[in-house]
């Protein structure tokens, strides 16, 4: 199956044709055509990804890396092809630097535990930001509790940008690790991760970038960024759930102890002593998510073939159209107005609760997210219980935005 010919992501960017590649978008919700505006929580899947998953289980399924028979070899090839696609997608140096995980959360936990065990001591400082997802807070708190390290937080400015002046002040010789989000899932802010990495490296401090929200929108080049670790989730970038990627510099991965023990990750095992396998195996104990690596590989290739420039232009158009439309609504306040922003609009309407607005939008067939978006400290910072968040992906269109704006107007009329 030649996947490059199964969709029309050739030279011209055709939003209509792209939308048609996502079969789920044709369904109804509550008797209305579905308007799906929650892609930041999990994206829909294009037909090529669905076909790849089906193809894997229909024709290739066997356990990997240990069968002498041809089918197992073919399954291994499919699994490792996913890794090579991930390497190419991230422009990582080698496949040894690309690990499969369950997702962003597991990637961050892996680094917090393994890097932490090797390199973090009492009194060391770990620098995160005030707009982190709980996934990039709690693993560091666990590490801090265990080691006596201290967590420092880069504050967020009123418009949703990081306070880079405070960052300069907080980054000191005591800072032994920096972990920041590339694009905020609650605000849409695109953070200056390249600058953060440069400055941290000037202090010999490694940096992890949480790319969960960046990979569906931005071209990622881990070498150009010089990121020590870059993590993301398959399900947010048009791929399956249960799989994610962690790219890490070999020098760190080599120096870190393994995360979990089990099959695949060992070279020899006796009851006295076990020696560990090489990278990437060392961090991939147990039978991997084989269909997942196949699916995420195809999803990444699909995203690249869409063409970032045209995709960004389309998404930015939706973002501006939505911002403009929503801003007309009395009492509506947009949370997060950074100059560099991805296609996410978080908002509140004076006198209404996000839960109520979300409930009415649901009845109108519009799927948005309400609540704190797993960023409670950020919501506390803004003094709000949560927001209503609409996030736009490449398959959304202006009609979706219009339905959203009409829906919010209607909800407001009902609630106030």
């Amino acid at each position: 199956m030649d996947l490059s010919t199964t969709h029309s992501g050739t030279n011209t960017f055709d939003p209509k044709a792209i939308r048609a590649q996502f079969p789920l978008l044709e369904r109804d919700m509550n008797g209305k055509p579905l308007v799906f505006l929650d892609s930041a929580a999990s994206s829909q899947k294009p037909q090529v990804v669905l076909d790849a998953l089906n193809h894997y289980y229909t024709y290739l399924n066997a356990n990997v890396h240990r069968g002498v028979y041809t089918l197992s070899q073919e399954a291994t090839d499919a699994h490792e092809k996913g890794r090579e696609q991930a390497r190419a997608f991230l422009n990582a140096r080698s496949n040894r630097e690309v690990l499969f995980t369950r997702g962003t959360t597991e990637g961050i936990n892996l680094i917090a535990q393994c890097y932490g065990q090797a390199f973090i001591k009492e009194g060391d400082e770990i620098l995160i930001s005030g707009m982190e997802h709980h996934s990039n807070i709690v693993p560091w708190q666990i590490l801090a509790d265990r080691t006596g390290a201290v967590i420092k937080v880069i504050p967020v400015l009123e418009n949703g940008d990081l306070d880079m002046v405070a960052f300069d002040r907080l980054l000191t010789r005591k800072t032994k690790f920096v972990s920041v989000v590339h694009i905020s899932n609650s605000l849409g802010t695109i953070n200056p991760v390249k600058t953060i990495i440069e400055k941290a490296h000037a202090q010999n401090t490694p940096v992890l970038v949480d790319g969960a929200q960046a990979t569906p929108h931005l071209k990622i080049d881990v070498q150009a960024l010089d990121a020590d670790f870059y993590v993301f989730s398959g399900h947010i970038i048009f791929g399956p759930t249960g799989i994610g990627t962690l790219s890490g510099k070999e020098k760190w991965l080599e120096a870190m102890p393994p995360y979990q023990g089990g099959g695949e990750m060992i070279k020899t095992v006796t009851f006295e002593k076990t020696t560990y396998n090489e990278l990437h195996f060392k961090f991939e104990a147990g039978t991997p998510d084989i269909s997942g690596s196949v699916g995420i590989g195809v999803a990444m290739e699909y995203t690249q073939q869409l063409g970032y420039e045209a995709m960004q232009k389309h998404e930015q158009d939706l973002l501006h159209y939505a911002t403009e439309g929503l801003s007309q609504i009395e009492g509506l306040r947009i949370i997060g107005q950074a100059a560099h922003k991805a296609s996410v609009v978080s908002f509140l309407i004076q006198g209404t609760h996000p839960y109520d607005v979300g409930t009415i939008l649901d009845k109108l067939g519009i799927a948005v997210r309400t609540g704190h978006h797993c960023t409670q400290p950020l919501m506390d910072h803004f003094g709000i219980p949560g927001t209503i968040r609409a996030s736009f992906a490449v398959y959304n269109n202006r009609e979706d935005v219009e339905r959203l704006v009409e829906g919010v107007q209607r909800a407001t009329r009902m609630l106030l």
Partner: protein, 145 residues
């Protein structure tokens, strides 16, 4: 009226609504009309924290031993459903509250508000109402002994 009679009354009322809009407008009105909880009761001890919205609940036994609930929420639809719950369960005996089966929520098409993903505090609130009832039941038994 018994708990079950009130539930039936609500189910009958809701059967007149033509569409979801009318139904939700009514729930929103109920939410707006919910009698205020005593301001001193709106504290962390009475708070039931949901992920999406939160609920404050208080229970007091009146002279004849029946339980009087008052509650509040920061979300108006949650508050409307609370108003219905209070109408069904308030001013009933602890025994009846503790053993009640709340069938009206499903019957009037509001079950989704009790699903896990909503996390609006309502499920815990119902549990808490029954726990209050059990506690008063115990207290009443002890003073009878």
């Amino acid at each position: 009226m018994t708990i079950d009679q009130i539930q039936q009354e609500i189910i009958d009322e809701f059967s007149f609504f033509e569409d979801w809009m009318e139904k939700y407008e009514y729930i929103i009105d109920l939410g707006k009309g919910l009698p205020l909880i005593d301001a001193t009761k709106k504290n962390p001890d009475h708070l039931i924290k949901g992920c999406q919205s939160q609920v404050w609940l208080d229970a007091q036994a009146n002279q004849n031993g029946n339980i009087q609930f008052t509650a509040d929420s920061d979300a108006i639809i949650t508050k409307g459903i609370i108003a219905l719950l209070i109408r069904v369960l308030s001013n009933q005996t602890p025994q009846e509250i503790a053993s009640s089966e709340l069938r009206f929520i499903d019957a009037i098409g509001l079950k989704e508000h009790l699903s896990l993903t909503r996390s609006n505090g309502l499920v815990s609130m119902i549990k808490q109402m029954k726990l209050y009832a059990l506690a008063y039941q115990h207290k009443a038994q002890e003073s009878n002994d």
